[in-house]
Subunit: 519 residues, 2 copies
């Protein structure tokens, strides 16, 4: 244990080593400790003060356009550190393909935000919002909405599954907006986020105070927040509810954004018979979503909605593909499915599978045992991909229980758009949905019927398949978030994400004065 590093926090301009020895965080593949994380807590008051008094003013001393290079520079630091990050990422159970989603995804996201910022943000401290509105007949009085940086901290509370991409997609818009960030990583993969922040701080590419890191417990952090601060949470619905009920949000109106549970669904169109391109695309996509990151993606497909008459064919095709998907250590090049992040997480997934099984049997995989290439499933958190089949349409579990692993359930529908929409809506709000069909009318009916229940919907067909980014891939250009169970939040979406960190103010006065304010 002595050689295992105790994670430090970067707060108020310095790295802080916590008191005590901390608790070990284990390699997902071998069970060997990777790092130790302290639960002693950090000086959250000093961190928030530093963000407000040092980071915020430094960022606001720049124009919107002048902050774009900061984001680009962070992308550069991550590109430099790429192989080092990949190596450490493997210890989270991630295969090289999985690490690409997290690490290259982060770099790409930062690059896109920099590019959007370069094209869309003004060389001014003020972002005009809309046009000036005349407010009188004589032309002497008008209104103009402006957006200016809020004077608080953007607190990120991240999930364990994307220790690089998660902080990056939240940091980029905050930096562009001129708002300092405090990152609280999830403990199971905090060591990877710590490395990311360490490399950024070492590189000196950000103004002091623009970025802080609180590893371990951030107890009391929300107590410090007020109406100019914001909280960006990704994680479980239960924790989201707890945080959203804190007086910082309910009484002091700190902004709160959540990405939480989501029972994402993918619909197979009635036109997509076995042998058709869309049938193949559907199966491919489902297998991908089940296996990438071992299914530990908030956007992964949990519900496979297929015409009842096609359920057998889909199960057969998916099972055949899953049977050849090698589960194994990231060190083994053949491994297609890595490990879950921890044995505890695997226990949670097994419990969820047991709950789902109330609605129908497991038709592929054994939740209790799996062959592992280059490892074993006693020490490492390996789990077979699991496919279930819903046989009791009245049960609620398929629409409510999120098994956060390589798990999906096939659910039959009657082949109509209306029935597909009704099932999509039973998820009570999802991050991502998809429809795989060559019938544009069917696609339109499903999308317009279920759009209100989704943050993002993909229509996949033979025409766009070659360039499709896939069901489970959030893009910096498009909003990421969903209503209801998914948390009601919205991230990314291009420069929309920057606006979430700004305060909109209607300014009224003479046209000359408004011109002076917006330059």
């Amino acid at each position: 244990m002595a050689d295992v590093p105790l994670l430090e926090s970067y707060l108020a301009g310095a790295w802080h080593r916590p008191a005590g020895a901390g608790e070990p965080v284990r390699d997902a593949v071998t069970g060997v400790p990777v790092a130790r994380v302290s639960r002693a807590g950090v000086d959250v008051a000093a961190a928030v003060r530093h963000a407000r008094e040092v980071g915020g003013p430094a960022l606001r001393a720049l124009t919107f356009a002048e902050r774009v290079p900061l984001v680009k520079a962070v992308a550069g630091v991550l590109t430099q550190a790429r192989e080092e990050l990949y190596a450490l990422s493997a210890r989270t159970g991630a295969t090289r393909r999985d690490s690409a989603v997290d690490i290259d995804g982060a770099i790409g996201t930062l690059a896109v935000f920099a590019s959007l910022g370069r094209r869309g943000l003004p060389d001014s401290p003020v972002l005009p919002d809309g046009q000036a509105e005349p407010l009188g007949q004589g032309g002497t009085f008008a209104g103009q909405h402006i957006l200016t940086p809020r004077r608080g901290a953007a607190v990120q509370i991240n999930a364990y599954n994307f220790p690089v991409w998660g902080p990056a997609e939240k940091l980029a818009p905050a930096l562009l907006a001129g708002v300092p960030a405090i990152i609280k990583p999830a403990t199971p993969t905090a060591y990877l986020t710590e490395l990311v922040v360490r490399r950024i701080i070492e590189a000196g590419v950000l103004p002091e105070g623009a970025l802080q890191l609180a590893c371990g417990s951030a107890r009391g952090l929300l107590d410090q927040l007020g109406g100019q601060d914001s909280v960006w949470f990704t994680g479980s619905a239960a924790t989201a509810a707890l945080l959203r009920g804190h007086p910082a949000v309910t009484t002091r109106s700190a902004r709160f954004n959540a990405e939480a549970d989501s029972l994402n669904a993918s619909v197979l169109g009635p036109d997509a018979t076995p042998g058709s391109p869309e049938f193949g695309l559907y199966v491919d996509q489902l297998v991908t979503e089940m296996t990438v990151k071992a299914g530990q993606k908030c956007t992964a497909i949990r519900r496979a909605l297929v015409p009842s008459a096609r359920a057998d064919a889909v199960i057969e095709a998916v099972s055949a593909r899953l049977a050849s998907a090698v589960v194994g250590s990231p060190a083994n090049e053949k491994a297609e499915v890595g490990a879950l992040v921890s044995l505890e997480q695997r226990d949670d997934v097994r419990s969820a599978v047991a709950a789902l099984a109330a609605a129908g049997p497991v038709v592929f995989g054994d939740p209790e045992h799996v062959e592992v290439a280059g490892g074993d499933d006693r020490r490492g958190a390996f789990l077979s991909p699991i496919l279930l089949r819903c046989t009791d349409a009245a049960r609620t579990e398929p629409h409510q229980v999120e098994a956060f692993g390589p798990v999906a359930m096939v659910i039959g529908y009657d082949g109509t758009a209306a029935d597909a929409v009704a099932l999509l809506e039973r998820g009570e709000g999802s991050l991502a949905g998809s429809v795989v069909t060559a019938d544009p009318e069917f696609a339109r009916d499903v999308v317009l019927g279920a759009a209100a229940a989704h943050g993002r919907m993909l229509v996949l067909d033979r025409d766009c398949a070659a360039e499709s980014t896939g069901h489970g891939t959030p893009l910096p250009q498009l909003v990421h978030g969903g209503p209801g169970r998914a948390g009601g939040g919205e991230e990314e979406g291009g420069l929309r994400a920057v606006r979430h960190h700004l305060q909109r103010t209607a300014v009224q006065g003479s046209p000359a004065l408004l011109g002076l304010i917006t330059r």
Copy 2:
């Protein structure tokens, strides 16, 4: 009591008379009961179900453009009922000028929303948001954000001070968006909102289910709400916090918008010496804000920030004006200041004045007694305008205690924009701020310095004064709301208000498919 009507609720397609006799609501001027309101509660589950199953589908059967005439028709109904509404409004203590703000304000707001809708909303069930984003080099895959109506109810929980404008400004955007509304009026003036809804329902201008009214207790209403519903609250910060902490919001992600307390401030520029146009404008505006609606406006000026050297002159000029402002019954044409809504509300204001007095003395008015034209201050809730002067800059009360009546406090600052901004920020988030100055640089520094703490800021000078709509007047074209203490919400702002009722969804697919979806 027998001849005093018991307020009914319009729910699930019918007027419902509650069981029991109810509690009297009294005329603000005479203390005579105007109506009775029951606390027995209504069938909230049926109301929410009706909104979702009847009102929502009926509204969504129309395109955005087809919903515009609904808003126009509601404006027409209110115009028809105008004199009747004025007559009843007088019983809330409102002078004719006060009623104009509420009733004509409502009609104008509805008309502006109809006009903005006519010009800005498509004849389609879908509102495209931004441009299509190419997502591949080959041009076969793209993304397009769309906005569609959320499938729930928009629940309004209104404040007592604007029983006509409040429901109207919340109803117009919901109707345009295609989302049914449930109005919960504040009990002290519910009889006026009830009349408004009765006339709208009688006129048959809205599809059934688009508008419901729950008078008295709406106990259990939030228990019925989920992720597709929204709550639009105007009232105290304490109630806002209670509602925002409800599981409907924290767990199920119902959208929640609050307009709450606000210690709005108006800054006198250092250039505005007595005798200058801006000095006069400042005094006029402050007197107006103190006296209109007897100061019962969430946007009224509570903090008069003046260069310390000018405090005496401002107090003298304001006091002279207040001394000639007749406090009286709305029946008396000379009355400039009407009654507060109730004796209980007057007690609250007196308590707030006592709290503020810890920071400095009352320099105009007697909180305990006032001469009343056409009434008396034992039966009617009359209160003298009260001006205080802050003599202890360290006290927090001037920046935290909202006396919701004809009360303001003069607070000195050092004449610099930085000091004015620091004082503005001590309000911790306000709905409206103003700067009265002929110095554009000073105005710009104050606005840019304090914009993040405000939802709206007015720069008043001789050039725009003739057309200025004033510090305290929210406009349908401009956002109304403010960060922090003001609730963190945003209403109005033109078609932005419509978008708050819509779900944004990123749709991905082939360009042809995206074209089909957005038409």
